[in-house]
């Protein structure tokens, strides 16, 4: 049987990088092509899997109607055997219930467990602004909006099914506080700082023992400058740059917010998400001030 594990995250928190690390575990001599990940795992909000399992035209369903069927899709996915021992499936959805009151991601009847990747919201904001081609302040507003969604258009058919995200804090809380699935928390900053060890621990939680040598090779193959080089050369299939040709693999740094945000923008994020930031170990500017004073 193929074991299903969610790779859950708020958008722009390192999900793609984690998937590239996992994909590079099977690369022996050269890095995996960043444009060759499509068949590996997929995303919970993909229309293909929905239509494959239900035989319905997802474009004839309202977002809410599709949501009521999504739990059935994940139950079916959990019974699939694709010949691998582990299938990591990306999910940006917050852990929520459908209109019928059951978990959208169907609890333990879907994936066995979840890896949750979080990232300092002050670093998410500039990345999200780049991704959605919006200003920084609009990105900060989006991250504070409890009704925020991806792919929620109703006058055209979005590429993916709608994903209800909640606000940034609510997203993290929805995954951390649900009791259906064991969750392993990965902070993007730890993944940057101690990539191999953090990655090996997360994969062990997912049930895959990864040797240090294999992990270090994958880390080397998925180095940020290498990903950027691949993207510069051939583009990235999961990314639709508009106009200026901004990169998907933009910066990938931790703490870049110190240069990218104004003091007021930092303040807005911290006042909206202070409690969850502290819970996840992201020191607020005020806390740093206190530490410096001590």
């Amino acid at each position: 049987m193929t074991r299903l594990v969610w790779l859950a995250s708020y958008p722009k928190s390192g999900n793609t990088w984690f998937r590239l690390l996992a994909a590079n575990l099977s690369a022996a001599n050269e890095p995996v092509d960043i444009n060759d990940m499509g068949e590996r795992g997929g995303i919970a909000s993909g229309r293909d899997a929905f239509e494959f399992h239900t035989l319905l035209d997802s474009g004839l369903l309202t977002h809410d109607e599709a949501d009521t069927l999504r739990p059935r899709v994940y139950e079916s996915m959990a019974r699939e055997d694709d010949g691998e021992d582990l299938r990591l499936v990306k999910a940006h959805d917050a852990y929520l219930t459908t209109a019928l009151g059951e978990p959208l991601l169907v609890g333990a009847r879907g994936a066995e467990r979840a890896i949750l990747i979080v990232r300092d919201p002050r670093d998410v904001a500039p990345s999200l602004a780049n991704h959605r081609k919006i200003g920084l302040d609009a990105a900060i507003d989006f991250m504070a909006d409890p009704t925020a969604c991806f792919a929620a258009a109703t006058r055209a058919q979005p590429l993916q099914l709608r994903q209800r995200l909640l606000d940034w804090s609510g997203h993290a809380a929805s995954w951390l506080d649900q009791a259906d699935l064991p969750v392993h928390l990965v902070r993007y900053e730890d993944l940057r700082l101690a990539t191999s060890a953090t990655f090996v621990a997360a994969m062990a939680f997912a049930g895959r023992e990864v040797s240090v040598a294999d992990a270090e090779r994958a880390v080397e193959f998925a180095r940020f400058d290498r990903l950027q080089a691949q993207e510069r050369e051939r583009g990235f299939i999961e990314w639709r740059p508009r106009g200026g040709g901004a990169l998907f693999f933009r910066r990938g740094e931790a703490q870049a917010w110190r240069r990218e945000l104004t003091a007021e923008q930092v303040q807005r994020i911290e006042s909206a998400h202070g409690p969850m930031m502290r819970r996840l170990g992201y020191a607020l500017s005020a806390d740093e001030g206190v530490q410096q004073a001590v």
């Binding site: 444009n35 494959f52 035989l55 035209d57 004839l60 309202t62 059935r72 899709v73 139950e75 999961e238």
Partner: protein, 309 residues
Amino acid sequence: MYRYRIAGLTVSSDVEIPGLHAAAGDEAADVAIALGAVQERMDEAAASGPNWAMTPGAFLLRVPGIARFWLTGGAAITYQPEPEAAPGDIAAFLTGATFGILLHQRGLVVLHASGVAVNGHAVLFLGPSGAGKSTLATALAQRGYPLVTDDFCVVGADGAGRPLIHPDGRLPKLWAQAIRHLDLADRQGAAVRGRLSKFYVEPPQVAASPAPLPCGPVYALREARGPVRPGIERPNIVDAALLLRRNAYRARLIKQMGQDELYFRLAAAVGNAGGVFQLSRELDFAAMPRVIDALERHWAEIGQLAGAA
């Protein structure tokens, strides 16, 4: 009672189904669609999914909140609406899944395709839901190429085994955004479902006669992004066969219905007729004129525009 013609079959229905060609006559129909009681489950199914189950002769499809559909022998569809269903919902799902499955059940080759007539040949565009099939076909109808089919399409054969396409599509279904970008507001008809901003559109050009057309080139649509550059390529025969099979209307059912062979033969037949191609283009309305220009150049190159109209 309504009567329609789909894929060369006569269909009687006690519910109006917009977007199909009406048929005259009162002889017994090949397919009968009628309201009736439909059981919730199927015992001893040979194959099943979360909302469907099948035996060799019967198929149960459940659309939660809309209806249950029971298909038998490729000849009858019984539907039982759910209490929450709105008017129009039944028709939307009859053409939006159910009828396509019934055609599979009849052993026909059914593609997920929209198409237009070019010089007396049916040119098809394949792709999953959301790939832009209807939008491209309607934009081509604006350029004077009559709409032949929308969303699904049966590929038959003439006496010599050459593929034939039945002109089935009368009203393409477009989202509000596409209607606005293609400037088709004055041709917008009823909503496909009251809950969706997706509408039937009266196309600028429709195939004049229901007579089948020989199959011209078939294009699998994909978005040009990342490493995929805009253009038209001809895949090798193996990839062409995979593309056709992947774009069967409900590809999952092919294996379950034992129809693999049908699609391999189709690939050979279409390859010998107009050919199978991959059309990569930006999913952007502004690119549409360029896409149509590229198609017209391609038709000139492969001789599709030559000969008698």
